[in-house]
């Protein structure tokens, strides 16, 4: 107790700095540390899926339509959300993605939109995010 009284200033500064560091590190509103780690699946191509691969994924699947592309498989329509890519980071949308206990699959008629959104979500520390592709060029690496 005496120690706390004598060093209250040092301890409170330490706690404050530690708290700020923890907030910065684990904040859900910002990007996470280590950009290379979060971008790695894009270099390996492990973040790309085709419709045929979706049933094999475990957990609750959530498909996010970022454009006007219609998905051919009827069974996926019930688990699909239409979200404008520009409003994807709005609190309610982000909450839906974070709360989903399973893979989140992005798709759009423009593969560039899905790719850009994927990189943003991935760098925010969201795991289990995929890009749906039936397009041969998307896997052309």
């Amino acid at each position: 107790m005496k120690f706390l009284k004598q060093n209250w200033l040092v301890i409170s500064i330490f706690l404050l700095v530690s708290l700020l560091v923890l907030i910065r590190t684990f904040s859900h509103k910002n990007f996470r540390y280590d950009a290379v780690k979060w971008a790695a699946p894009s270099a390996l191509g492990t973040n790309i899926l085709t419709e045929d691969q979706i049933p094999a994924l475990s957990g609750d699947k959530l498909l996010i339509n970022l454009g006007n592309k219609a998905i051919s498989n009827q069974q996926f329509r019930d688990i699909t959300l239409d979200i404008n890519p520009e409003s994807l980071l709005e609190k309610t949308n982000l909450k839906l993605i974070r709360r989903n206990k399973g893979p989140v699959i992005l798709y759009s008629e423009e593969s560039s939109v899905s790719a850009r959104v994927w990189m943003v979500l991935s760098e925010m520390g969201l795991k289990n995010i995929y890009i749906l592709s039936n397009d041969a060029t998307i896997n052309n690496r």
């Binding site: 540390y33 593969s111 899905s114």
Partner: protein, 203 residues
Amino acid sequence: MEIRRKFSALLLLLSFVLALLPLSANRSFTVKPDKLLSEVLNEDVSFTVDQVAEFIVREDSTIQLIDLRSPEEFRKQTIPGAVNIPYHDLINTDPDIWLNNKNIRNIFYSNGNIEPDYALVYARGLGYTNSFVMAGGMTEWINTVIETKFEGDRITARENTLFEVRRRAGEMFTELNNLPDSLKTRFLESKKFSAKKLDGGCQ
């Protein structure tokens, strides 16, 4: 004495906190997610192949074409003036080596796949706002610039200018890619990306 002891303890504790910080902190995105997302979804971050053809014909020194394909693909077919930085290398090395010159607009392209889009977000996220993509990549370049044909009876002045730019860029592309292998390798070696060249400092 008391103050000095407290100050020493404070410094010790702060150094402890710093020691806990991830080592890779310098390679993390620096902008806010919503700002980055709206930035990369904006059309201003894309150049068309015709715009790129014009840069090449004008020998615009404010642009740097970055070919994200493999070295083999790059050797096989190259857009004049491009440098080869495979996507894997771009994200696994310090991007400052490639993108540090703020006076140059870096334009990423590939075979028409999504790697330039990843590279765009990655580079802009790290604060390189001078990063862009060439829409459609090499596939679009071949279809639009190289295989350009004028069909019709009359041509407007604007169409004529566009056609001339494409023709000239196409010629430059063909000249470069028709070089014998030994000459082409030497040419590409001389164009090989050198970080020192962009540093601008004394050696």
